[in-house]
């Protein structure tokens, strides 16, 4: 089945230690998104790629970076995680960045910062 895969499902890192979360998709979608979701809160868009074009949200901290080496893979790098970065990180895809297209989410990576 076509899907969005995130690895690892659970990640523990130390305060200030760089961490990379990965996402892959078999849907061949042009658009890939990264969201941060804290407990009982709405998913918050960090950035998205439309093909190779990177679109950063204005309020996404510089501490968060992303790479998309090819259509199938996208990475979220947190350069110096703080305690406030502990959250669920969700990767999603869609076939088109314009409105009216559903997003397909992966299972998420739960990040703990110690």
């Amino acid at each position: 089945d076509a899907m969005v895969i995130q690895n690892p499902r659970y990640q523990v890192t130390q305060f200030g230690k760089p961490v990379t979360l990965s996402c892959s998709q078999t849907l061949n979608h042009n658009v890939m998104y990264w969201y941060q979701q804290k407990s009982s809160q709405a998913p918050k868009l960090l950035f998205h790629y439309y093909d190779k074009d990177f679109n950063n949200e204005a309020d996404t901290p510089d501490n968060f970076q992303s790479r998309r080496p090819n259509t199938s893979f996208c990475f979220l790098d947190i350069r110096s995680p703080g305690l406030g970065d502990a959250a669920m990180y969700l990767c999603a895809t869609s076939s088109d960045p314009t409105g009216g297209y559903e997003q397909y989410f992966g299972p998420g990576t739960r990040l703990t910062v110690t």
């Binding site: 709405a42 559903e102 739960r110």
Partner: protein
């Protein structure tokens, strides 16, 4: 700024009844409104999309309404079952690629047997 409010953090209803969830929004004129289901520790799963010129959309036991005058969407689950227990997120969606989907924080629905 744009704001989405989903009714009460939690809703508890008896199995077999109709669950009605509310999504209100301000400072936005969405072209589409989407509803997602999210189970604990999992990513959201798309359920339904309704366009601004549609009043109602149905899918099996699910029904969504969209009132752009009231700036409100209602999400109904008829003949609710314990398996319907989850958090339901509404999301506002614009026309262009410059707009982005904005999610609400969700309503946690519990269906008791």
């Amino acid at each position: 700024s744009q704001k989405i409010e989903q009714n009460s953090e939690a809703l508890n209803i008896q199995e077999g009844k109709t669950a009605t969830l509310t999504c209100n929004y301000t400072n936005y004129s969405p072209a589409y409104l989407q509803w997602y289901r999210q189970d604990p520790g999992r990513g959201p799963v798309f359920l339904l999309l309704i366009r601004e010129n549609e009043k109602e959309k149905r899918k099996e036991r699910l029904k969504v309404t969209f009132d752009t005058t009231l700036k409100q969407s209602l999400f109904h689950i008829t003949a609710s079952q314990p398996a319907d227990s989850a958090t339901y997120l509404c999301a506002l969606d614009g026309w262009s690629s410059a707009s982005k989907i904005i999610f609400g924080s969700g309503t946690r629905l519990s269906i008791r047997p």
